[in-house]
């Protein structure tokens, strides 16, 4: 090219390169801006923990809120708090997402002339509310959850000051029947507190105490303490579950007796009678004629439990030193709930449990309690037009009230509905005025789950938006009504009122501790049976409607009454029983499914007198033939995650709201009854696949979730030499010993899998005997490690991003089951319980199959024995996952972290953990970021990291302390000591010789209780 000389060429090259460079610089420039004035307590990069209280359910567990640079990023249990003692359940873990929820109202909203909610200023909003109150405060009513004792008192004073008609506390699973039962039996006002930690026999009469009820986390911990095989003789407490369905709670029992639902009271009396026959010394005269005519044979016919079993249970009760019998939780509370609960408490009383393991707290201060009949009265008032202003806070009655109560119609007659919901829900979307409350992490407040426990809430972040505390808003509106009203109201705001209320305590100290906790529970020590006992009418439940089946609407362990459905993690963490995500399902027995000709995923129509539901079938072995069960909590039509809005179908319900098919029924005490109706089933012919996380519950004898009988444990403890499992009896060799087998079964020392000069080899033990399947660890892992949620469709593709999952195995499994052959997916059997909940995450193998196959060293062995994962190196060949026998690696099929995190959820990302990009592999690394956080101070002080300084997120969350993490090179560490269990210890898929650093401790099969 003659026309292009050298200089010209160089010029062109320069221009071209400059243009290319400029084009390559299109990425947004971001700045890290340092504090101009750095807050004194805050060092960038160092977390600050604040004590607070979880408000996700009434249990009120203590929190330590981990904040980074002014933002809460993780919730952990407060070890000082008497309720949870350091752990935090799944719902509590993810409740942090409320603060950063995309559905939050950012300003007050007022319904305009066009019928749509539009933002207004606080001044205008409060003026509107005040105007409405001025027009007729007598027509104003407050409806909402329990806001805590201090706020509750403020609300009561507010109601009195402005002259409102009243205040109703609403809690869908309140179980007023329990109080009523105590009142009937003992004549005292008290809500029983069950202490399982000292029990040696736990009888759950349909009580799903690990999922719902007064304090699931606490009860799980207590039961694990009572059943600690290391500390207690003979495997500790025995746990028998009597109920129609193998719930998560039931799956942890030693024995499951599938009794007819609603007959728990009859059963309890029969067991009491049998216990007396077996020598239980109890005062029969106090019972009057209650036990006359009660015998095992007759009870057997009514309850579906054979007489021998009843007698055996009776004998066990008679022999038990410390019994806890738990009355049914909400799902099984029938129209006879009070009598049923009374019968069960009577058993407790007769066995001497009352005031020992069943405590009746003496209530000193009375705050307003949930009352369903007050709520029904309010609904009546609304219907008759007496309510002109309804103020709703912390409740979603449009979703959670049965249609038979007419709540929706009544609400339509209320001319002015005010909602304080911080996150939009079905009720707030109907409101005329939305005055968004702060989320618990932004609020001042307190909670008192039981006498003697006063727990504090403190703000851990400046309100993210211009939202205000409900109490402050109400006070301001009240004060604007005039000086007369203002004088009756407490001065100051929520914070100052709280400090006043806590005047008797050192407030700052209480804030640091998380509250003030009495050493013991003040209880009624000596209670005598009242004469009303004799008149107790324990009978079958009264069921409405027609049909061959009864409908069990049970609380969901993850969604609660539905309030946690807005939190995406609770949708994506699989249900502990069915492993279904993002949807509803109806559980029915295999026999029922065969009779109807339905398979898993086929849509069934459930018809009751109150309504019809269409919901996918989940046939399983763990439910009675005459029962179908649907979990409460889904079926929301409002919410980015709660409804199908995130999939682009706003207004469409996700799953079904089973409450819509329940009649408006109450028990004897006027409390809400849930187990009330028969149901007809019909096939619709449609089918929709479930998004399940686990496709098989048959582990085919592969020892992933292992168990061994108590006898083997006792024998092994006597002679702990034989740690090596027997050679499998299979193959052409017929199970003969070979050098090959010996080689792979020689116990190894995981310590050798770290560098010789490293002082650490991180390791873990997971006690399958303690794992209840509650999934707190799974939720904690999501939050700690910035794991994206992927949505129902992607879960169907198996693209869950959980680094930790709980595998739920039914027994040892059946090898003969031909894989892939048409078969029943669920191997549970009625009346049998051998469920092994096995948390599965990266095992940090010493001889990791994933490591040699990575072409670019993106996954590698670090000197401390961990399988490191360098995201930036990964090119995404995915070979590591193919070669991982545990299948714990996850791949970023899309840019999940960007696509599925609507703002402002990104603000809660843990800054210590990389957010993974599209196309890279990821997995658990034993919370390596927490190890690094502990390393620096240790280095500064020229010492090693101490045992207990690093607790992984999963271990921290676990209510039963099933997970222990630590340094295996330190023989004194907790984890090293826990590994000294030659009989129970096993590694998953042992024959592969992957040398995992995670040691599982086998579940102990304690067997049915002896008569």
């Amino acid at each position: 090219m003659p026309e292009l000389d050298r200089r010209e060429f160089l010029k062109l090259v320069g221009v071209g390169a400059g243009a290319a460079a400029a084009a390559g610089c299109s990425e947004r420039v971001e700045h890290l801006i340092p504090y101009v004035v750095q807050p004194e307590v805050m060092t960038p990069g160092i977390a600050i923990y604040y004590a607070s209280t979880c408000r996700e359910c009434p249990a009120a567990c203590g929190l330590h809120v981990r904040t980074r640079e002014g933002r809460p990023v993780k919730l952990e249990g407060n070890p000082e708090h008497p309720v949870s003692k350091g752990s935090l359940c799944a719902r509590g873990q993810v409740s942090i997402g409320r603060t950063y929820h995309p559905d939050r109202y950012t300003t007050p909203m007022s319904r305009g002339a066009d019928g749509k909610l539009a933002p207004v200023s606080w001044e205008e909003a409060i003026r509107t509310l005040a105007d409405k109150l001025r027009q007729g405060a007598a027509g104003a009513a407050l409806l909402g959850g329990d806001p805590g004792p201090t706020a509750s008192q403020v609300l009561d004073r507010w109601v009195a000051a402005v002259g409102a008609s009243g205040r109703v506390v609403y809690e869908p699973f309140a179980q007023e029947s329990l109080r009523e039962a105590v009142k009937t039996l003992f004549g005292v006002e008290s809500e029983p507190v069950f202490d399982l930690s000292q029990a040696d026999l736990v009888l759950s009469f349909g009580s799903d105490f690990m999922e719902t009820g007064p304090s699931p986390n606490e009860h799980m911990r207590q039961l694990a303490e009572a059943r600690d095989v290391r500390a207690k003789e003979h495997g500790g407490a025995r746990f028998v579950y009597l109920g129609p369905r193998l719930s998560m709670t039931a799956s942890n029992a030693d024995e499951w007796i599938p009794s007819k639902p609603g007959t728990e009271g009859i059963l309890a009396l029969a067991v009491l009678r049998a216990a007396m026959d077996s020598g239980l010394t109890a005062d029969r005269t106090a019972l009057g004629g209650l036990l006359d005519g009660v015998d095992a044979a007759r009870a057997a016919a009514r309850t579906g439990v054979d007489a021998k079993t009843i007698q055996r249970l009776g004998a066990a009760v008679a022999r038990a030193k410390s019994l806890v019998a738990l009355p049914p939780t909400a799902g099984l509370s029938s129209r006879r709930a009070s009598a049923t609960a009374a019968a069960v408490l009577l058993l407790d009383h007769a066995a001497g449990a009352v005031a020992r393991t069943v405590l009746l707290p003496a209530e000193t201060e009375r705050t307003k309690r949930p009352s369903y009949h007050e709520l029904l009265a309010l609904v009546d008032a609304m219907k008759s037009g007496k309510v002109s202003v309804l103020l709703v806070h912390d409740a979603n009655p449009v979703h959670s009230m049965p249609p038979g109560t007419g709540f929706r119609e009544a609400l339509a007659k209320v001319p002015f509905l005010v909602s304080f919901a911080p996150i939009k829900d079905e009720t707030s979307e109907q409101a005329h005025l939305v005055l968004p409350d702060l989320t618990p992490l932004e609020s001042w407040g307190d909670a008192s789950p039981r006498p003697g426990v006063r727990s504090l809430l403190q703000p851990t972040i400046r309100p993210l938006y211009g939202t205000r505390a409900m109490v402050d808003v109400l006070l301001e509106a009240g004060r604007s009504l005039g000086d007369e009203v203002a004088a009756k109201l407490p001065p100051g705001n929520m914070r100052s009122i709280l400090e006043t209320a806590w005047a008797g305590e050192d407030f700052r100290k209480a804030l640091a501790r998380g509250g003030s906790f009495a050493a013991s529970l003040p209880t009624h020590e000596h209670v005598a049976l009242s004469s009303a006992v004799a008149k107790l009418e324990v009978s079958e439940p009264l069921l409405e409607g027609e049909g061959d089946y009864v409908l069990l609407a049970h609380p969901s362990p993850l969604l609660g009454d539905g309030r946690s459905a807005a939190l995406p993690w609770m949708q994506e963490v699989p249900d502990p029983v069915t492993k279904v995500t993002w949807n509803s399902w109806v559980e029915l027995s295999h026999a029922t499914a065969r009779r109807l000709g339905v398979e898993i995923g086929d849509v069934l129509a459930l018809k009751t007198a109150a309504g019809t539901l269409e919901v996918q079938a989940f046939p399983r072995g763990g439910i009675r033939d005459d029962v179908v069960a649907v979990a409460v909590g889904q079926g929301h039509t409002v919410g980015w995650y709660a409804s199908h809005e995130m999939e682009g179908r706003p207004g469409e319900a996700r799953g079904v709201n089973v409450i819509a098919a329940l009649p408006a029924a109450v028990d004897e005490a006027g409390g809400r009854a849930w187990f009330t109706t028969k149901v007809q089933l019909a096939k619709t012919g449609r089918s929709e696949p479930f998004a399940v996380s686990q496709t098989q519950d048959n582990q085919r004898d592969r020892s992933i979730g292992a168990a061994l009988p108590l006898a083997a444990l006792a024998a092994g403890a006597a002679a702990p030499a034989e740690a090596v499992p027997a050679a499998p009896e299979h193959g052409a060799r017929g199970g003969e010993e070979s050098a090959y087998q010996e080689e792979i079964h020689v116990p190894f020392d995981p310590v050798l899998d770290a560098a010789q000069n490293s002082p650490y080899r991180w390791g873990m033990t997971i006690d399958v005997d303690r794992c209840t399947g509650c999934s707190a660890c799974v939720a904690a892992c999501y939050i700690e490690n910035n794991s994206p949620i992927v949505g129902e469709d992607q879960v169907r593709w198996g693209r869950l991003m959980a680094w930790l999952r709980i595998e739920r195995w039914v027994g040892d499994g059946v090898v003969e089951d031909i894989p892939g052959w048409p078969r029943e997916r669920n191997h549970e059997e009625l009346g049998k319980v051998d469920i092994r909940h096995t948390p599965m995450m990266c095992q940090q193998c010493g001889a990791a199959p994933c490591e040699p196959v990575c072409p670019v060293f993106a996954t590698y062995h670090n000197p401390e024995g961990l399988n490191g994962m360098v995201y930036n190196r990964c090119i995404g060949t995915r070979y590591c996952s193919n070669n991982c026998p545990y299948k714990v690696r996850r791949f970023n099929w899309y840019d999940f972290s960007l696509e599925n995190w609507p703002k402002p959820l990104h603000l809660m990302l843990n800054p210590d953990v990389t957010v993974r990009a599209q196309g890279v592999m990821e997995k658990c690394t034993y919370c390596t970021q927490r190890i690094e956080i502990a390393r620096q101070p240790a280095k500064d002080q020229k010492r090693l990291i101490r045992d207990g300084e690093v607790i992984t997120a999963c271990a921290q969350a676990c209510p039963t302390q099933a997970i222990t993490f630590g340094n295996l090179k330190d023989p004194e560490s907790n984890v090293s000591k826990k590994r000294q269990e030659p009989v129970r210890g096993y590694v998953a898929l042992q024959g592969l010789n992957t040398r995992p650093a995670t040691l599982y401790l086998a579940k102990v099969v304690r067997g049915p209780v002896e008569g």
Binding site: G798, G820, V853, N882, Y886, F891
Partner: protein
């Protein structure tokens, strides 16, 4: 490959344009003649289709591999299946060119060119799939060991690194092989072309005029390349098989894999040569040069390798039982009777059952039957890789995650695109270069004449 003895050195030294036209030159160069309308339509279709598939791939790069049908734990799917398939196809060329050359199997001369061309195109197609498969193609150069400032180095323990070397080596050698073999024929084409073609051929023929010295050098080059390529025939697919055999996945972790994969590769390679050559032979009237004799010989190879492959299938099932390993047994039951039973039985019937018809001479000499069998073998061999990779992964150690993978539409589109990509190159090649090695066919004709006084190329006449 000695120079045609019938031609004197003096004759070869004559300016080529003055050489009298030979029928072989005429017939074989006629293939390269002015393309018909159908040719153009086909070519345009292929080019457009390949670009459309390229757009699908770009969308996948942008959006993420989620648009493919991957289901945990099946993290390798159609892309790797197709990769192995095309690597397998690539084996016939080198086998025919190198091993049969060293064994002096003269019948190969009629098919070696097309087989070599197929090899190159198949390797190119296969290589695409390594890029299509990975999660971050923009970082895929991390897999190459070169000094860099990031302190990155590759893991030489990883079979994927071996694979990278094996494939790139194989691509280099097969391109060289194809090109060196083409030089005398390009010279012939050069002498008969004008315009841009003449420029191209002049450049590519490296001044070939057919002197004895050039023939000597040529023969030596081919001999040495054959020597280099022969171990590659065995090594490349062995390395590819180790991508699987070096893992611990039940049904993958097996010592039989290397010979089994090599046999399968030759099997599929020959089948692909038949699938391609039978229509080409018909369309361009090359029956005289690619005769039934050649086809029958290939059929014999297919039969032999089918037996090896069938034996391997049987052996794998036997070992699954004999090992006594629950994992292996379960996986094999699942393979045969599980969710993917159709794939498994397509594989077994197409690869181990149907080819047995080739025991009969009437079947081996029936072009229609051969064509059908070759297509079935191609289908069967694709399914073989599908069965090994996908079924193996979907039924591993931990039953918790067992899952049923099915290819998604984008994956199938890209699979179809790979055939179009391969065909596009072949269609272009047919019109640019002699599809049958002219010089070598002439040599064959002379031999036939010398031994049988006619023979395979009955009406061929040499000058």
């Amino acid at each position: 490959m000695t120079p045609p003895p019938a031609m004197s050195v003096a004759a070869m030294m004559r300016p080529p344009t003055q050489a009298p036209e030979s029928p072989a030159n005429r017939d074989l160069l006629a293939v390269m003649g002015r393309p018909s309308l159908y040719y153009w339509l086909l070519l345009i279709f292929l080019v457009v289709f390949v670009h459309a598939v390229g757009a699908v791939w770009l969308f996948q790069v942008y959006k993420g591999l989620g648009i493919a049908g991957y289901k945990h734990p099946v993290f390798w799917g159609v892309y790797i299946v197709t990769f192995v398939f095309w690597v397998g196809i690539a084996h016939a060329g080198t086998l025919i060119s190198a091993i049969l050359y060293l064994f002096r199997s003269k019948w190969r001369n009629a098919i070696n060119r097309s087989a070599e061309a197929m090899t190159v195109f198949a390797v190119l197609t296969a290589a695409q799939f390594l890029g299509i498969h990975v999660g971050r193609i923009w970082k895929s150069y991390f897999i190459l060991p070169y000094p860099n400032q990031r302190g990155l180095w590759v893991n030489f323990k990883s079979p994927l690194v071996w694979d990278t070397f094996a494939i790139s080596t194989y691509a280099t050698i097969s391109i060289l092989f194809l090109f060196v073999g083409l030089i005398p024929d390009i010279a012939i084409a050069r002498d008969r072309s004008t315009g841009w073609r003449r420029l191209l051929y002049t450049a590519l023929s490296f001044g070939w005029v057919g002197t004895a010295k050039q023939w000597k050098a040529f023969n030596r080059a081919v001999l040495h390349l054959s020597g280099l390529a022969t171990p590659l025939v065995l090594s490349v697919h062995s390395v590819v098989s180790w991508d699987f055999a070096m893992s611990i996945v039940p049904t993958w972790h097996s010592t039989i894999f290397a010979p089994y994969f090599v046999a399968g590769a030759i099997f599929s390679g020959f089948a692909m040569v038949l699938t391609v050559m039978i229509p080409v032979r018909r369309i361009f009237a090359l029956e005289a040069y690619i005769t039934e004799y050649h086809l029958e010989n290939m059929a014999r190879f297919i039969l032999l390798t089918s037996l090896i492959v069938g034996y391997s299938y049987g052996m794998e099932f036997f070992m699954a039982w004999y090992s006594g390993s629950e994992f292996e047994r379960s996986a094999w039951w699942y393979r045969a009777f599980g969710d993917y039973w159709i794939s498994a039985w397509v594989m077994i019937s197409c690869n181990a059952i149907f080819p047995n018809i080739l025991w009969f001479k009437w079947a081996r000499t029936n072009v229609t039957i051969l064509f059908i069998v070759s297509v079935l073998v191609n289908i069967g061999m694709w399914f073989e890789r599908y069965v090994i990779i996908v079924i193996g992964l979907s039924h591993e150690f931990n039953p918790d995650v067992w899952n049923h993978y099915l290819p998604s539409l984008p994956e199938l589109t890209i699979l179809a695109g790979s055939f179009a990509f391969f065909a596009m190159f072949f269609v272009i090649f047919i019109k640019l270069f002699p599809v049958v090695a002219i010089a070598e066919v002439k040599e064959l004709v002379i031999h036939e004449k010398a031994h049988h006084g006619g023979g395979a190329v009955a009406h061929g006449e040499m000058h």
